[in-house]
């Protein structure tokens, strides 16, 4: 019975593989004990048994129901433990939670995506989704920034995307090395290189708060209407259920009404970039 389902109890998921994406970022491939479906941009609460729980937006395709992947940067208590985990161990999953990307609103449009650092994780899931419906889209451009070439994640996937019709990937790093042949500078510099028909386009942004802020400003400057800018917001989403109160951003529970918002929806709320 749906009513008696314990909303706090995770389902178990076996860790199948761990991929080191960068010195601080790993992808965890899991097999939940039951089929697990989500819409791209929705998030899960991942439990490291007895240690803690943290929210992650899956980086895998929403079309895949047997396996689920999250890409995690080592940043705090839970992720520190998570990074030590080995294939065969068991994790817990609750969700999916929140509101993801309204992909159907992207139909017949050009999708311009700005991502930074580990913000590529939710974007990769979105890209898998967009690739599956590319006949309905005009074009997809990913502008991705990271600190160094070493910290650029999903390298094989970027190569794959570059060979996919209608998809384009531009990358930049803050600190290049000798072998880096792409752009240099903060992620927003890439937006100057993009030729886009704003009227028939939507913009998507996911990354660290500072990039979200300046990315949004840049999108507005480019002429994007406020309701065509999709932002994946990050707050302390703890319960995922719109109850515990930790992720309140003004009148919104980010966990339930987000994490994906249009700029128009959140521009009047306080502290959106922190």
């Amino acid at each position: 019975m749906a009513e008696t389902k314990n909303i706090y109890k995770p389902i178990r998921a076996k860790l199948l593989d761990v991929i080191a994406e960068s010195p601080t970022i790993k992808t965890f491939i899991m097999e939940p004990e039951e089929d697990f479906t989500f819409k791209t941009g929705e998030f899960i609460e991942l439990t490291v048994d007895g240690i803690g729980e943290a929210p992650f937006t899956p980086s895998s395709s929403p079309l895949e129901t047997k396996k689920i992947e999250v890409t995690v940067m080592k940043t705090g208590y839970v992720t520190e433990y998570l990074h030590q985990m080995k294939p065969g161990e068991t994790l817990g999953i609750r969700g999916p939670f929140g509101r993801g990307y309204p992909v159907e609103r992207f139909y017949d449009k050009e999708v311009l995506i700005l991502g930074g650092g580990c913000g590529f994780a939710p974007i990769r899931s979105l890209l898998y989704n967009l690739a599956a419906i590319s006949d309905k889209l005009r074009k997809v451009t990913l502008c991705y920034g990271s600190k160094t070439p070493d910290e650029c994640i999903y390298k094989p996937y970027v190569d794959e995307l570059r060979n996919t019709p209608k998809f384009e990937v531009l990358r930049t790093v803050d600190e290049p090395n000798e072998s880096w042949s792409e752009s240099v500078g903060v992620a927003t510099v890439l937006l100057d290189q993009v030729k886009v028909d704003i009227k028939n386009s939507v913009a998507v942004c996911c990354g660290p708060p500072i990039m979200m802020k300046f990315g949004t400003m840049k999108f507005l400057e480019m002429g994007y209407p406020e309701n065509d800018i999709y932002l994946s917001m990050e707050k302390n989403m703890s319960c995922g259920l719109g109850k515990c109160g930790h992720c309140m951003m003004g009148k919104y529970f980010v966990c339930k009404e987000g994490p994906v918002f249009t700029y128009d929806e959140i521009k009047d709320q306080p502290d959106i970039w922190s």
Binding site: K9, R12, G245, K251
Partner: protein, 337 residues
């Protein structure tokens, strides 16, 4: 609503009969009611010897009603609350406060099973306030000092009798149960008049005590317009103890704590504690004390009113009494009115 609420549905029984009925109800229910101690009046789990000591028709016991439904700490994955309970003597401010909890915890998208079970297993016998305390300001926010809904029964103790006004179907069932074990009759017109007189006397008293205090329609605007200097000034004596939130009948934020074997423990939390909004990367929108202080006012008077139907401040005044820094929210509202 059914016609139960349309007509005055008052029943009464002698004090002695009520007391012996309670004794018999112990077999089926845990009964909680306010008892007076040296320092305070607070809810206790009633035993036989306490029945005589129950205090009726007084304003707010120290502990808010919410803690009966959201215990300070509970394991959400291993325990299932199943005890049937009767809670007697809850003031209407607390009864009102349950409505926002219901909106959040019975939200049809994610029903909280522990909360729902407790709500279903509890008979709420509210009691009208026959007196008012210094910081009571329910009327300012449109909350009456007696219950007309949400509770199952509204109790008034007059002289030698207990009067029970039925407010819900659950309350009706309880009266039927009571009729099996005690001599219950309908309250007389004159007795109902006496109760209503007491009600309106207290209503007027609460209104008179709070002249000039901005109502709930104005509080949101006041909070929205307040400048940073207000939050800095009023938070000067705040020590982030969180007492205001702990004691508040409508503050419900919690932490989920992990225990081995994927168990989850809920512990009530407060946005007044440092780190409430901190994320793993270190960003913390409420890192500074005046911001946390301001957050509580915005939550209660601006944001949640935009989102929920129920009041998020019922004017009970407990936060004023509990504050060790002697911060009085009503002084802030009067200053900025």
């Amino acid at each position: 609503m059914n016609d139960v609420t349309d007509m005055k549905n008052y029943y009464s029984l002698l004090n002695s009969d009520w007391n012996s009925a309670l004794e018999q109800l112990f077999g089926d229910y845990l009964i909680y009611a306010p008892i007076k101690t040296e320092e305070s009046i607070d809810f206790e789990l009633i035993q036989n010897e306490d029945i005589q000591e129950i205090i009726y028709n007084v304003p707010k016991p120290t502990t808010p009603l919410k803690t009966f439904f959201l215990p300070i700490k509970e394991n959400l994955t291993s325990e299932t609350p199943d005890s049937k309970r009767i809670i007697i003597g809850t003031p209407n401010c607390d009864i009102h406060g349950l409505q926002i909890l219901d909106e959040i915890y019975l939200d049809k998208d994610y029903v909280d099973y522990a909360y729902k079970t407790r709500r279903e297993n509890t008979i709420l016998i509210s009691s009208s306030c026959f007196e008012t305390l210094e910081h009571c300001h329910c009327m300012t926010y449109g909350v009456k000092p007696f219950s007309t809904e949400v509770a199952d029964i509204s109790l008034s103790h007059l002289d030698k009798k207990i009067h029970l006004e039925v407010l819900s179907e659950k309350g009706e069932k309880f009266i039927n149960e009571l009729k099996n074990i005690a001599s219950v009759s309908n309250s007389a017109e004159s007795e109902i008049k006496d109760i209503e007189l007491k009600h309106s006397k207290i209503e007027n008293e609460v209104i008179a005590n709070n002249t000039g205090l901005p109502d709930y329609k104005k509080t949101g605007k006041i909070v929205s317009k307040a400048e940073d200097k207000t939050w800095i000034k009023y938070s000067t004596n705040c020590v982030s103890c969180g007492a205001c939130a702990t004691i508040c009948p409508t503050c419900t934020c919690f932490l989920l704590i992990d225990k081995p074997n994927f168990e989850k423990v809920r512990q009530l939390d407060a946005c007044q504690y440092p780190g409430f909004e901190r994320v793993a990367g270190g960003e913390d929108a409420l890192g500074e004390l005046p911001k946390r202080f301001k957050n509580r006012y915005f939550c209660k008077y601006v944001w949640k009113p935009q989102k929920f139907k129920s009041l998020v401040c019922t004017g009970c005044g407990r936060c004023i009494e509990a504050c060790i820094g002697k911060i009085n929210k009503n002084e802030l509202f009067r200053e900025l009115a």
